[in-house]
């Protein structure tokens, strides 16, 4: 993702702060594209916010995580 894409996306992400969502599916990533390898391992999640769904990275967590 280049800097302009990051700036446009970051404006949107703030609206999800504090929201609760249902995890529809999740994958723990062990291999990533070149611009994300420094963040490995990270989770890639698909979340249901009731009125909409979003996909997110869950970075900087421990390997043995669980979702409640």
């Amino acid at each position: 993702m280049n800097i302009t894409e990051y700036w446009r996306s970051n404006k949107q992400w703030s609206k999800y702060l504090g929201k609760k969502a249902k995890v529809l599916a999740v994958s723990l990533m062990e291999v990533a594209a070149s611009d994300q390898t420094a963040l490995l391992p990270y989770s890639y999640l698909l979340l249901d916010l009731e009125k909409s769904k979003i996909s997110l990275m869950g970075a900087a967590h421990q390997r043995n995580f669980t979702f409640l």
Binding site: A25, A33, S55, M57
Partner: protein
């Protein structure tokens, strides 16, 4: 419809470090012309399937690069639809022939992927996902989401995913052009390195270089393989916008159109090349194409119903998984491989299924005698 496949050629799929993008194009053009045994001047137009030569090889404008292989410079255009580029180039060529503007056209698919590093390749391939909505995703990640959903909803198991891989690698032994001729066990797949859970290294199709080409013609020909029907489906680019993660609606739409045009049903099809970029992708494909009921394909494949002697033969070439997946070439390779099976008299009703992205685009072709 009167369109026949009058020539087919598949180059070796592999890491072809000795060959450039242009070398592959030349090989494809010469190979398919030799098979068709026609005057090169009879090619009225060219449709080139390629996903990302601008990124992999710093070379765009592929239409001109293929056209200049001919003395008469036929009109040429490049078609891009991610991994479905080959299937879409087929559809564009078929529509051009049906319009009557052209009588004989070349469809050439090519991708030269191994000149960049693995992580660069992953980044280039990920550009087929939604850049605004799927940050952090890779293709394995998106199909891992689909796999997790399928496993939770239908009870699909690790062993069943592995059975797709084992089957397709066995099939590839009969295909000399396949990238891999190596037998794997269920345990090999289950113990391979994790890429994006639950998908492991051996669940994933490889990075490949390769070329494939077919010549289609509406002129009378003694060749056997005929296009009976085709279809094209689209869905949302981002998984988050999908209505149902348990199916690929684009595949369902494309299949419905193709079967309607061909006036055939699923039980008429003897063999299919389907888009198994990941093990879960084959399971989704054969369900969405209607060969197996939703939620039942994984068990059926594990029980041997998708190989010789079963209900239908799925991916006799080895599929993307074992034959290889030079992205732009894949959809054309499926047609070339199936047309060759028909020419040899092995099958009479066959289907090709090519998917772009994580299911946003799908192309289906049905061939027969």
């Amino acid at each position: 419809m009167n369109i026949k496949v009058i020539g087919n050629y598949i180059g070796k799929f592999a890491e072809l470090w000795e060959q450039s993008l242009t070398d592959l194009i030349k090989e494809g053009v010469e190979g398919v012309l030799a098979d068709a045994q026609i005057d090169p001047k009879s090619i009225d137009a060219i449709f080139v399937a390629n996903k990302a030569s601008g990124s992999f090889n710093n070379q765009r404008h592929l239409g001109a690069l293929v056209s200049e292989q001919f003395a008469h410079f036929p009109p040429a255009m490049r078609i891009e639809g991610a991994c479905a580029s080959g299937g879409l180039a087929m559809l564009a060529a078929e529509q051009a022939l049906l319009s009557g503007v052209y009588k004989t056209v070349l469809v050439l698919g090519v991708e030269k992927m191994t000149d960049v590093s693995g992580s660069e390749t992953a980044a280039i391939l990920a550009t087929a996902a939604s850049r605004e909505k799927e940050y952090g995703s890779t293709f394995p990640a998106l199909y891992a989401i689909l796999a997790n959903y399928h496993m939770n909803k239908y009870g699909t198991t690790r062993e069943q995913l592995s059975s797709v891989v084992v089957k397709n690698h066995l099939h590839a032994f009969d295909n000399p052009k396949a990238q891999f001729h190596k037998k794997f066990t269920l345990e090999d797949v289950a113990n391979s390195a994790m890429v994006a859970s639950p998908l492991r290294l051996l669940d994933c199709s490889p990075i490949s270089d390769g070329v494939a080409a077919v010549i289609l013609s509406s002129k009378p020909s003694s060749r056997k393989a005929k296009i009976l029907g085709f279809g094209h489906g689209q869905d949302t680019l981002a998984l988050a916008d999908r209505q149902d993660l348990g199916r690929l609606a684009a595949t369902e739409k494309a299949a419905k159109q193709a079967f309607l045009m061909a006036k055939l049903s699923q039980t008429d099809i003897q063999v299919a090349e389907v888009h198994d970029c990941f093990s879960i992708a084959e399971i989704l494909a054969v369900e969405d194409l209607g060969f197996f009921a939703k939620g039942k394909a994984a068990a059926a494949i594990a029980k041997g119903k998708a190989t010789y002697g079963g209900q239908i033969v799925i991916n006799p070439s080895g599929g993307l998984k074992a034959c290889g997946h030079p992205v732009g070439a894949t959809g054309v390779k499926q047609i070339a491989f199936l047309a060759n099976l028909i020419e040899k008299g092995k099958f009479e009703r066959v289907l090709a299924h090519n998917v772009g992205g994580s299911g946003a685009t799908a192309a289906v072709n049905i061939l027969g005698i």
